[in-house]
Subunit: 246 residues, 2 copies
Amino acid sequence: MVDMSGLEFTPPKYAQIVRTLQERIEDGTYPVGEKLPSETRLVREFGAGRSTVVRALQILSMQGWIEREHGRGSFVKGVPHQAVERSHAGASAFEAPENSKSDQIVCAGRMSVPATIAETIGLPENAPAIMRRRLVLVDDEPSELVTLWFPLDVAEGTDLGDPTPISIGAREHIQRVKQLRPSLVFERLSARLATDEENELLGLEKGTPVLGIVARIVDTSGEVLAVAEVVLPGDLHELEDSYSAV
Amino acid sequence: MVDMSGLEFTPPKYAQIVRTLQERIEDGTYPVGEKLPSETRLVREFGAGRSTVVRALQILSMQGWIEREHGRGSFVKGVPHQAVERSHAGASAFEAPENSKSDQIVCAGRMSVPATIAETIGLPENAPAIMRRRLVLVDDEPSELVTLWFPLDVAEGTDLGDPTPISIGAREHIQRVKQLRPSLVFERLSARLATDEENELLGLEKGTPVLGIVARIVDTSGEVLAVAEVVLPGDLHELEDSYSAV
DNA sequence: CTTAGCCACTTGTTTGGTCAAGTTGAGCGG
DNA sequence: CCGCTCAACTTGACCAAACAAGTGGCTAAG
């Protein structure tokens, strides 16, 4: 039972048609906006049954390469771009390792949750939780204030309440020690004025606008693993994002 | 030949099967990890041909609800969190139709671009462009200020410079009249204080923080179709976003 | 006990049909 | 010139049938 280098795995015909049409869209053989050959024509060209051609067209349609219009034809939409960059400030805060040079742990330990976080973390106001707050420095100047909140059962047995830097980041730490894996992040973002406390820590003047981000990080079962609060002084930060217009 | 209230649009059978199976996954009838009934079984249950059932399963598979294994069966993966909500404020501004009830066109016409927009739209400061600014009202109160900027060659021959509402939205309008299709959106977002002009239009007090969003909308060739500037008073708006933690 | 073969069951792919329904344009009559 | 009808072309939905190929369990031979 050799099989040898017989790695000549021939992809199914519908996949070949998909690939061919994608290439033609990419290289401009079928320009954007233009009408594709009709199903019947493609059937003849590729020597396939109509169902096979239709299947290929349906895949292209679902992937956003073409648009199909009943009674008119299929039209080129363009090359779909899925891979878009996003800011993901909340996830970054949870992910980022703590570095004693660029990060200054403001405080860490058991604390009662403030009203602004209570609902997000799913605990009553003033209930105890583990808080971990750090100031991110750029050129030795305070640039960003990150506060992570953990439910007690998540933080139990971890070093999240210790004021020593966690060099691998909170995500890795929780995942290693507690086998918990984050699955989804819900992020809320708004512009507001900095609180007195934030002004002091970040060295801002009264009345400075900040970008406030509150992210809820949950695992597959919907359990809250952590809440990240990120405060970005408006004059120092811009968030960037890009996405497909389709 | 009316048809009248015959608005009972019956979705195609494959779509009904998709919907039904999605519901069963959502409500736990088919738990995550479990094996779905075989194709033959589903064919019997839904009274459909195998091709139809397979089509439904293929859609579910492509959308990430299930995983299909050759020779073994189809298995529930879970509810996909791809269809995540994203604020996409910039795209919305470009897309949204103008309604004379909820929108008030502040001004529309040829204008020289300010410094804040110049670089984004790719024109020198004070170069002429078509501007279109509207105030979005909620409960007759100003809630949001949207300004669209168009390069002259994009706006030429369109109604984008007219102060009358464009009921189909700028995107549709450009697409119909000029055959230009937006492809990608680059968005920048920051917190800042409202300008005097914005304070006046939005009826804000001095020193109010706002969320400022500047979006560059480009077509497939990278040409800028429009720049959207959205100003959201901080106390009225929160942007929400969710994404996979992976 | 191990293994090879067989069989039932499963999904994967492809074909070739039918009927329905939207679109377009040519031709015709007013 | 306008509006109508109609035929041709298009995609949409569906089905029955066939064959390929992977999986898993049973059984009988080694």
